[in-house]
């Protein structure tokens, strides 16, 4: 047996966690990609452009928080796009004036905006609760359940809007939250909400018992159960949290466009998944971080902005996303493999 004394010293020094390594690695990739873009794209380095890059994906980042937490537990949430559409439509419908128009789509329930928001969020929570019931209680695979609730949420939205959209007879207050700027800046309130949520999520992930348990469930659900973790309750909370984030996003987007339409946020669930994967969150669970997800979102934003700046046709956007995703994930695999060998 070797002496444990010098070992103790090294133990206390600790070493960087794999999550931190991947986050730093992706920040490195981001810096390199940014510098290359600055060389080739005119005005790319300008502060206003940088601010845009950091903020114009705010809705994907908010969705990415809930999706990342669930991915870390080993579960998908593909319902977030549908929830955005549903809550957007509900927030409009609940506060549209009654008997204001001969057009059915011009009449709503005439509730105060605050009540409309609360009820719309309740709608989101219901979808999250449904997800949780099927996944945590009945143990149906999450990908199936959340694809189902995605269609359900969008479907209810479609019924309420009759396949079109609702954008009339809205109170003045409706358009404020999604369009107003933070006093003294040009940034929207939505961006502020994103920042607050990011800090909150980072804190939960790193500092709380809840955060630790999220990783433990993802690393080994059976061991988590046998260690006394209430797995079903934990997943229920996360699905409701994720649906709430999507609900908030839905309300902000409906306010920004002063309209509720059931086709809103098509494919956002995939974007949220992509930024999480770009940020190093493992699809198998047990690994990943909100910080990494945010870096992933920025990286995607840099790529798409640069592509637009280079006058690349928008038709190429999807292909570009695909290439970036593959390259980033292969690079992460490479970094982690090198580390476990080293």
């Amino acid at each position: 047996m070797e002496s444990t004394k010098p070992a103790q010293k090294a133990l206390k020094g600790g070493r960087m966690s794999n999550e931190t390594l991947i986050s730093l690695f992706m920040i490195g990739v981001l810096v390199v990609v940014f510098l290359i873009a600055c060389l080739f794209v005119p005005n790319f380095y300008k502060p206003q452009n940088i601010v845009n890059i950091l903020t114009n994906n705010w809705y994907i980042v908010i969705l990415g928080i809930g999706v990342s937490f669930l991915l870390v537990t080993g579960n998908f949430d593909m319902s977030v796009g549908g929830v955005i559409a549903l809550t957007g439509v509900l927030s409009v419908y609940f506060c549209q004036a009654t008997n204001a128009s001969r057009n059915v789509l011009g009449n709503g329930l005439g509730l105060p905006y605050g009540v409309a928001i609360a009820l719309a969020l309740l709608g989101a929570v219901t979808v999250g609760g449904l997800n949780a019931f099927f996944i945590a209680k009945l143990k149906v695979p999450s990908i199936i359940v959340t694809l189902g609730t995605m269609m359900l949420a969008r479907g209810v939205g479609q019924v309420i809007t009759q396949g079109a959209q609702r954008n009339t007879s809205l109170p003045k207050v409706f358009g404020i939250i999604g369009n107003a700027a933070i006093p003294g800046t040009s940034l929207k309130i939505s961006v502020l909400i994103m920042i607050v949520l990011l800090i909150f999520a980072f804190f939960i992930e790193r500092k709380t018992v809840f955060g630790r348990r999220t990783y433990q469930i993802g690393a080994n659900q059976e061991a988590a159960r046998l260690s006394g973790i209430k797995v079903a309750r934990h997943l229920t909370m996360l699905y409701i949290f994720s649906a709430l984030l999507a609900g908030i996003t839905g309300i902000l987007l409906a306010s920004e466009y002063k309209a509720g339409l059931s086709g809103r946020a098509m494919g956002y669930e995939f974007d949220a998944l992509v930024v999480a994967l770009l940020g190093g969150v493992s699809i198998a669970g047990g690994f990943g971080s909100v910080l990494g997800m945010f870096v992933g979102a920025i990286l995607l934003s840099v790529m798409t902005t640069a592509a637009t700046g280079l006058l690349l046709s928008p038709d190429w956007q999807f292909t570009l996303k695909a290439v970036v995703t593959f390259v980033a994930i292969l690079a992460q695999r490479w970094a982690l493999d090198r580390r476990s060998r080293g």
Binding site: T4, T208, R212, Q216, N220, E222, G228
Partner: protein, 513 residues
Amino acid sequence: MELTGNVLEIRNLVKEFPSVRAVNDVSFDIKRNTVHCLVGENGAGKSTLIKILTGAYQRTSGRILLNGEEYVASSTKEAKDRGISTLFQELNVVDQLTVEENLTLGMEDTRFGFLLKTDKVNKIISVMNSLEPSIRPNQLVSDLSVAKKQIVEIAKAVATEADIIIMDEPTAALSEGEIARLFTIIKGLRERNVTVIYISHRLDEIFELGDYVTVMRDGGHVATMPVAEIKDRSDLIKMMIGKTVFEQYSPREQDCEDVILQVRHVSNHKLQDISFDLPRGEIAGFYGLVGAGKTELARAIYGADSYTGDIIFKGKKLASSPDRVIEAGIALVPEERRSQGLFTLLTIRGNIPVMNMKKIARGGLVDGAKERAVTLEYIDKLKIATSSIEKEAAQLSGGNQQKVVLSKCLFADADLLMLDEPTRGIDVGAKSEIYSIIRQLAAAGKSILIFSSELPEVVNICDSIYLLYDGAMVERIRNGCDIDSEMMMHAVSGVSVDQATANGKVAAVTGGE
């Protein structure tokens, strides 16, 4: 091909693992068209030997001759091609396919991508028909019983002209009628020019079925002889356990009035009416073979599996969910450390405090300094060999992983600690460290339940020993220097205790009450 002589000759076979010689210079022959039984306690080296034959492991040194020719297999498929098929405990059938599709899986003949029905297929089906006419080829395998699935597997091996079929505990999940049917088939395999290597813990089966038996102990070869030459079952048991030198352990006296755990008439899919009392501070061991119900009993007490009956802990009925059982003051070191005990993806720091987060957190916030201190404390206390508390559990050795799982349960600060196969697959050094920790805990007033299929383990550390067979409690024994290990082997092999005591010398067991 000659029909007599040896189908398999094993010469000086050695398999070394980093910490142990699992197969140590083993040599013996297997005669053609016989049923050759392989017996030995857990850890005797049977499974390792079989895994070398099936290509799952590669030998360190030694030779194997199959039909007189050098035999090396690097995969199950290669072993099969050379003529050695295996009936695993976990059957290799695909439930969603029909019997016919399963039989021909991996050897389909196709033309333009379409399956052809060839002579090969017809042959397999006719073999299966002769073995068990009641199985229809177009039936879904998921509709078959375990016994019939085994027959499907045997038919496949026979039809592909296997020389040897290895059967590893094939009767573990069968009813008596099914066992009889399987035995008839096995006995008939001789005429089909097939040699069977049969592994079982149930000694009755060896006497009924076997032509020859090979006994292994501690990785070595003890004897190979015709079954007919064994006069007494206890001779076989003696060869299996040898002159095990048990560490002298004098059981400590407990106050039998001060009962911490009462188990009353607990039954479920596996357990049959189990009742016992555990005095506070006692180390009790449950000894039984694979499939005896040890794990099921541990899981029932822990609330991980459902059951009927009552389990009363410190005077209160236990709830049937692990989180509430842990809260009541019970912790379990599960049987499978990698799949049930450890978070292999997470760091040591992410593993050790998990069962008692309250102690390192306030208001849901983790105190990082306390978290590190606790992790370091247990690394130190249990001598876990690691370079960092941030090392992933996956990168530790088996013994160190088990120590992490044990640390997790110790930190839970439970009054009753249950350990299911606490030293399976770990080296001797770590083993004795774990034993000394268990003794220290008991000395500090904790109660311990150990579930083990290793006889020396329960004899070395337990105050009292319960024998399990087929989900039922056979006997309670007070441990002591006059413990009769032969009687215990008899009891857990399904021989009634009376018969066992009559068979061996009169057992000096008193029951302990």
